[in-house]
């Protein structure tokens, strides 16, 4: 189980409350698909995701980003048992979706970048370090069944 100090808990909540799930959520999958195009192979049911314009205008891409951030919200609310909270999601990504787990880190990086665009100087180095620890714990939890 990951140990969190009070300062870390407070910092993660403080970053998260500044994130508008609708606004940031619509970006993160788009960013992942555009910056790391091989990830497109996991979203075959989303229709046209083969050009930047198509990705940015794709409603399913935007909607799915919100699904991902809503799942991240669960992790923020369950910091003391992210692994348990994500056990079903981990199994889904392994058994059904068959995602290469290296890709979790790519999406986590895109989430951080989207948040950096929004929070700017508020994502200072010490805050970034704590946020990185949180996302690393989330990625590890998603990896747990692999």
């Amino acid at each position: 189980m990951v140990k969190w100090t009070e300062e870390e808990r407070e910092t993660i909540r403080s970053v998260w409350e500044k994130v508008d799930i609708d606004e940031v959520g619509s970006q993160i999958i788009a960013r992942t698909l555009i910056v790391y195009p091989w990830t497109e192979r996991y979203f075959g049911r989303f229709g046209d995701i083969f050009t930047t314009t198509a990705i940015l205008n794709n409603a399913k891409v935007a909607a799915h980003g919100k699904v991902v951030l809503n799942a991240l919200d669960l992790a923020v609310k369950n910091m003391d048992d992210i692994k348990g909270t994500y056990s079903a999601l981990s199994r889904l990504h392994y058994d059904k979706l068959k995602v290469d787990p290296d890709n979790f880190k790519l999406m986590a990086d895109c989430i951080t970048i989207s948040i950096a665009c929004k929070l700017k100087a508020a994502l200072s180095p010490p805050v970034h370090m704590i946020w990185h620890k949180f996302l690393y714990a989330v990625v590890e939890a998603l990896n747990s069944v692999f």
């Binding site: 970048i113 950096a116 994502l123 010490p126 970034h128």
Partner: protein
């Protein structure tokens, strides 16, 4: 040789025109040393790196951040031959500095976060993709002369 689209060239040049490299450089290196503390071991001669505030206030960190961004800015002027442009730096980082090359990506990740923070909404996914490609090619160029025949020659 890496191919660059017109959009990628102009976007990468535009990013460097918009950012203040004397702000981004120090901020990126500070961030790297803070978020990935094991990277501090490469900067033993820099003095006080004991906590986030010390790193942020350290003049050698700031100065070296500027050195890194200057090098990247010069790289932008040599987009069509980054491998050769970074050859000497690659040999330096391999043979003299003995840096684990996985750390290059950590620094470029921090540069990306700082640039995203500076540009905000203007750091769109397409701009992010072009910048990410540039940094990936720089990293690949820096990695190029690691484990090269140079160390075979010493045996």
């Amino acid at each position: 040789m890496v191919k660059w689209s017109d959009f990628e060239r102009s976007t990468i040049q535009d990013i460097f025109a918009k950012i203040d490299k004397n702000v981004v450089g120090p901020a990126a290196l500070t961030r790297c040393l803070t978020v990935y503390p094991w990277t501090q071991r490469y900067f033993g001669g820099f003095g006080n790196l004991y906590n986030a505030d010390a790193i942020a206030a350290n003049p050698k960190v700031a100065a070296h951040g500027k050195v890194v961004l200057n090098s990247l800015e010069n790289g932008v002027k040599n987009l069509d031959d980054l491998k050769n442009f970074y050859k000497d730096l690659s040999v330096l980082h391999s043979e003299k500095l003995q840096v684990d090359p996985d750390n290059f990506k950590l620094l470029t990740d921090c540069i990306t976060v700082v640039v995203a923070g500076q540009l905000g909404k203007a750091f769109t996914p397409e701009v992010h993709a072009a910048f990410s490609k540039f940094l990936a090619v720089v990293v690949a160029s820096l990695r190029k002369f690691f484990n090269s025949t140079n160390w075979l020659n010493c045996c």
